[in-house]
């Protein structure tokens, strides 16, 4: 166990260039207080991906033996049966089939590292993307006024003081609701841009950076001063890192997509040992009202990208796999029936993926009923039979060793469903 002083003395200070304003304030503060922090290296890391737009869970992981689905989706239904189509679903367990473009997930599922939860969603039946995303990210499905996000609260519950600015990082152009709250968190759209730079003039950059640090320190706007401080602290830590020439390990190849680039940067941060514990990123294009396609098309491209990106990430961080759990989420699912324009409208239950060595994988968890009309929510949608909070809280509790669900998810005391081991 090292102390902060020890940590600083032990040469970690070399991480921080003294050029811009010297030592990050959090290090200085901690050095003065002499508080103990846990070493960064072996901390557990939770990586979350929000699929904005509501993924069609029935097409990602299809209950292909259910004829009701086939009837409801004459143009969208796919089967795992061989010989009917060139690319049948990947039969997971005789009942559920993975979309053929998600073949990168198959080995992870067979190795029991990848778990799937189906018919999961929010108890609030709103079919508004924006409300449903807010509710899910706040973790309070019936309270619009919640000002903090569940992942921010999770950071507060980690049980160790001693955050670096990189404890919670979102690779996105804006800070997601999940990260709103009292605990510091970063939004970074691109690690390479994450510095004060005047092209070709390091001296002027340096002087400008010091000036900005002074100004943001004194401003009367809390948002600006707090964000400014977090930015400068993080910049100082990143100064020595070579973010431009990153080479993924083990021959991992990230798709050249937004999600691929985001996950690559998360992998970079994990391997830099900067104290990352909660990471977040997002991807869009799931709102498939029109021409959703089957084995090819818009949806196929999206799920293919999702699985290929996650697989590249998992390959890249192979020596850190014991420390990392990855979870996907989406605000709701889509109608059981196809709509009039070759797509699906807003529905209720969808599915999510959890990947990690602690995951109770190789199983499609949850309870997907037969899709006859009387089983459907409002006669049209996959009923939500698993509350998203039961999965989120189990993953956070088990992986990050958080066990204050009252704070993490107020008003929630539901059961866990066994998606994690032990």
């Amino acid at each position: 166990m090292s102390t902060r002083r020890g940590f600083i003395k032990s040469g970690a200070l070399a991480l921080f260039a003294t050029g811009i304003g010297g030592i990050p304030t959090f290090i200085a503060r901690a050095a003065n207080s002499g508080k103990i922090i846990s070493p960064y290296k072996k901390s557990k890391k939770l990586v979350c991906i929000f699929q904005r737009g509501a993924m069609d869970g029935l097409m990602a992981v299809t209950p292909f033996t259910d004829d009701n689905l086939k009837l409801a989706r004459p143009n969208l239904f796919m089967t795992a049966a061989k010989g009917v189509s060139n690319s049948p679903l990947i039969d997971l367990d005789g009942r559920f089939g993975l979309h053929p473009t998600m073949k990168a997930f198959e080995p992870l599922f067979r190795e029991k590292r990848l778990g799937i939860v189906h018919a999961v969603g929010s108890p609030n039946n709103t079919r508004s993307h924006f409300d449903a995303q807010d509710y899910m990210e706040a973790g309070t499905p019936f309270n619009k006024g919640t000002s903090s996000g569940w992942l921010n609260r999770a950071v507060g519950l980690l049980g160790h003081d001693g955050a670096t600015p990189f404890q919670a990082v979102s690779i996105s152009s804006s800070l997601p609701k999940s990260f709103y709250g009292d605990n510091p968190s970063l939004a970074i759209s691109n690690l390479q841009d994450f510095t004060i730079q005047m092209k070709g003039n390091p001296m002027a950059s340096n002087m400008a950076a010091k000036s900005f640090e002074e100004l943001y320190d004194q401003t009367s706007s809390n948002l600006l001063s707090r964000t400014g401080k977090e930015s400068f602290d993080a910049v100082k830590m990143l100064q020595k890192a070579d973010t431009k020439h990153y080479k993924p390990a083990n021959g991992a190849v990230y798709p050249d997509t937004q999600l691929g680039n985001s996950l690559k940067q998360i992998a970079q941060l994990i391997k830099m040992d900067v104290g990352l514990e909660v990471a977040f990123t997002e991807c869009g294009g799931w709102d498939t009202h029109y021409n959703q396609g089957t084995e090819a098309g818009a949806f196929a491209r999206n799920v293919g990208d999702l699985s290929n990106c996650i697989n590249a990430f998992w390959t890249d961080i192979s020596s850190y796999q014991d420390e990392v759990t990855l979870m996907t989420m989406t605000e709701f699912g889509r109608t059981v029936k196809q709509n009039g324009t070759g797509g699906t409208d807003h529905g209720r239950g969808s599915c999510l993926f959890v990947l990690g060595n602690d995951v109770n994988g190789g199983i499609v968890h949850g309870n997907m009923p037969l899709l006859v009309k009387e089983n459907l929510e409002d006669g049209r949608d996959v009923p939500v039979t698993t509350d998203f909070r039961s999965v989120f809280s189990e993953v956070a509790d088990s992986h990050l060793k958080i066990n204050n669900d009252k704070v993490l998810f107020p008003d929630w005391d539901g059961k866990k469903i066994g998606v994690m081991k032990g």
């Binding site: 800070l175 939004a187 070709g200 002027a204 600006l224």
Partner: protein
């Protein structure tokens, strides 16, 4: 005491009479506003402070000396001019003259600006590119043939249209005299958001902003709502153009059953190896039926959730489904010469437009109401019954109902107050505005007037309360520096990097209008970097003269420079603390030589846009070949610096110092606020 108060009375009388007198010279349209009075004095603001606040809310940022101009004209009078939006814009029109897309209608744009896929398909169809070429869908493999084909036909690349869309917006926002109209155009575009990358919506966005949003930005809300509802951009973006009554009005179950049976037949035939004529005919029939399609709820939901009532405005899922039925058949009149047009034209020729109109068919500009796609059944939305066979009128009735709904008044007024007052406007203010909205038939001018004459607008805690969006930051900088924009796309790259890729927001919500959305660690650093890059003239195609801003008076010391430029760029703000904090850093006697030396030692490289697509845009922007760009831009910068230096008779070192100071002010927290 008595004497004093009578003086005050006379003074007030005089102040009161000036607007009344001036009203005689006003045009008719201004008359209704002549009695307005801004209560800023009660809030403890000076006239100049009030003018600065007014400019921060109703423009994209004050230009040098604009506060003086507004004070001279009178604050109320200035607002009246803005709300009337009829100021001449001659120099803007000159600047926009090269933007040829602004003179074309949707049909011309659709048929002129093609994406690579459309170009290659057309080239194949016309025999310019061999059909059997295995590589035929690779544009780059046939560039020469296609380029000359495009020349011959007057065709252009679609990305040129997007480039013009972005360029004209930046130039207009920076220089129009009718600033409020443009601020509201941005506001309403964001409210009725359309993502320019959505399939097939791209070419409609130019006219959407120009003909649908801007002319209605200061009109009646219902006119704006119906104009968006009928616009090809919105009909495409939220899928309503394809939303039709289920097959022969049989209901979705029956329709799905028919298709299912046909699919089974198809499968059986395939299994038997029977793939002859009959199999093909069956396939055609399935495709035909698939195109008959059915209901799509996307637009019906968003018109209620996002455009009018708000998510808590009191509608249900059943209301959404029924509203979607009401709006079936609201679609686009086919205008693509290469597809679809013949069919509808054939129908018109065959049946005759009169007969079709009698049957309920409507053709109005780009809009078409296809009665044969309309759901003829009875529907109930929000408790109102729409009887059978309501035709196009039931959609109009629905929109009228939504536009005048109490929830809509509150939802819209809150959004306006958030844009123009603060992130958390008071309930009282929203209530006042909503009352005007309902009483005045959703007249946006009247609603804004209610807002700006309310004490809440002027109270001290709304001053500087808003954080500029990246676009607002960029344009306010350009305006404050009186900069010339030769390459607007360069500014777009920065706006994008700071988190606001304009016209590209995917979700129909538009960008959230709150500080927390814009300010985060990554975007904040980019705001600072933007200030530094712009001020040091490292953004190609954006030029200005810092010395001219101060009438070529050379500041006597760094302290003087700092104070002077703080006041120029942040007029009517308290800059004491800023100066105090910066002075010790800037006052390093060796600093100017250090900066100059460091600057010289490295090549003066222009900013490079991040993506290859942007590179192409940049190339088009500057009108020079890509490999020339760096050199040209550098040369231009150098010339500029020299010119500046010779103008004020100082050496380049001081220019560097001034740039540094200006860059820090632009990146400072105070400049992020408005």
């Amino acid at each position: 005491m008595k004497k004093y108060s009578s003086v005050v009375f006379i003074l007030f009388f005089l102040i009161g009479i000036v607007p009344i007198l001036s009203s005689f010279t006003n045009t008719d349209s201004l008359e209704q506003f002549t009695s307005i009075k801004f209560p800023y004095k009660k809030a403890g603001l000076t006239e100049r402070q009030a003018a600065a606040h007014l400019l921060s809310r109703f423009t994209f940022g004050a230009t040098p000396n604009q506060i003086d101009e507004v004070v001279k004209l009178g604050l109320e009078k200035w607002f009246e001019q803005q709300i009337d939006a009829k100021l001449p814009d001659d120099s803007l029109n000159v600047a926009l003259a090269p933007y040829e897309t602004l003179n074309l209608n949707n049909k011309q744009l659709i048929n002129t600006y093609l994406n690579s896929g459309q170009l290659i398909n057309l080239a194949i169809k016309e025999g310019v590119v061999p059909k059997d070429s295995a590589l035929h869908f690779e544009y780059k493999n046939h560039k020469t043939q296609i380029d000359s084909f495009m020349n011959e036909r007057g065709l252009k690349q679609q990305q040129e249209l997007v480039r013009q869309l972005i360029g004209q917006k930046i130039i207009r926002a920076a220089s129009t005299n009718n600033q409020l109209q443009e601020v509201l155009t941005s506001f309403w575009y964001n409210h009725f958001n359309v993502d320019v990358t959505k399939d097939n919506a791209t070419n409609y966005v130019i006219c959407y902003e120009k003909d649908v949003i801007r002319p209605n930005a200061l009109g009646k809300f219902e006119d704006l709502l119906i104009a968006t509802a009928k616009s090809p951009a919105m009909l495409t973006y939220l899928d309503n153009f394809r939303s039709v009554a289920s097959m022969n009005n049989q209901g979705p179950e029956a329709a799905a059953k028919i298709l299912k049976d046909l699919y089974e037949q198809q499968q059986q035939m395939r299994a038997k190896g029977d793939t002859g004529v009959k199999y093909k005919e069956l396939g055609n029939r399935i495709n035909y039926l698939k195109n008959q399609q059915g209901l799509n709820e996307n637009y019906a939901r968003e018109i209620m959730e996002l455009h009018t009532l708000g998510v808590d405005g009191g509608y249900t899922q059943t209301d959404v489904t029924n509203a979607a039925k009401v709006l079936t058949g609201w679609t686009i009149f086919p205008m693509n010469d290469n597809q679809g047009l013949q069919g509808i034209q054939k129908m018109i020729d065959k049946v005759g437009i009169e007969k079709l109109t009698q049957q309920g068919y409507v053709h109005d500009g780009d809009f078409m109401f296809a009665i044969n796609k309309h759901d003829q059944t009875e529907k109930v939305v929000l408790g109102n019954t729409f009887p059978v066979k309501g035709g196009v009128d039931e959609g109009k009735k629905l929109i009228n109902m939504l536009a005048h709904h109490n929830s809509t008044a509150h939802f819209i007024c809150k959004k306006l107050a958030v844009r123009f007052v603060s992130d958390n406007p008071s309930k009282e203010l929203i209530e006042k505005m909503a009352t005007t909205f309902l009483k005045q038939d959703g007249d946006i001018k009247q609603v804004l007037t209610t807002m700006v004459t309310s004490p809440e607008f002027w109270c001290k805690n709304s001053l500087r309360e808003k954080i500029k969006s990246p676009f607002e930051l960029t344009i306010s900088t350009v305006r404050a520096l009186n900069a010339t924009i030769n390459q607007p796309y360069q500014l777009f790259n920065w706006v994008n990097r700071m988190g606001e890729k304009m016209y590209h927001y995917q979700a129909p919500t538009g960008f959230p209008d709150k500080a927390q959305y814009w300010i985060n660690t990554g975007s904040l650093l980019n705001r600072m970097n933007f200030g530094l890059a712009l001020a040091s003239q490292k953004i190609p195609g954006i030029t200005f003269n810092l010395a001219a801003l101060n009438n070529h008076h050379e500041p006597e010391s760094m302290e003087a420079a700092l104070t002077t430029y703080c006041k120029l760029l942040l007029p009517e703000r308290d800059v004491k603390e800023t100066v105090k904090r910066l002075l010790p850093l800037i006052n390093d006697p060796q600093l100017d030589s250090k900066i100059a030396a460091a600057g010289k030692s490295v090549k003066n490289e222009p900013e490079h846009p991040a993506m290859s697509n942007d590179m192409m845009m940049t190339m088009m922007d500057s009108g020079v070949k890509n490999d020339m760009k760096g050199k040209e831009a550098t040369k231009r910068n150098d010339t500029n610096n020299n010119k500046q230096a010779s103008l004020n008779g100082t050496v380049a070192i001081n220019n560097n110092m001034l740039s540094q100071v200006a860059g820090i002010i632009i990146g400072s927290p105070e400049f992020q606020r408005r």
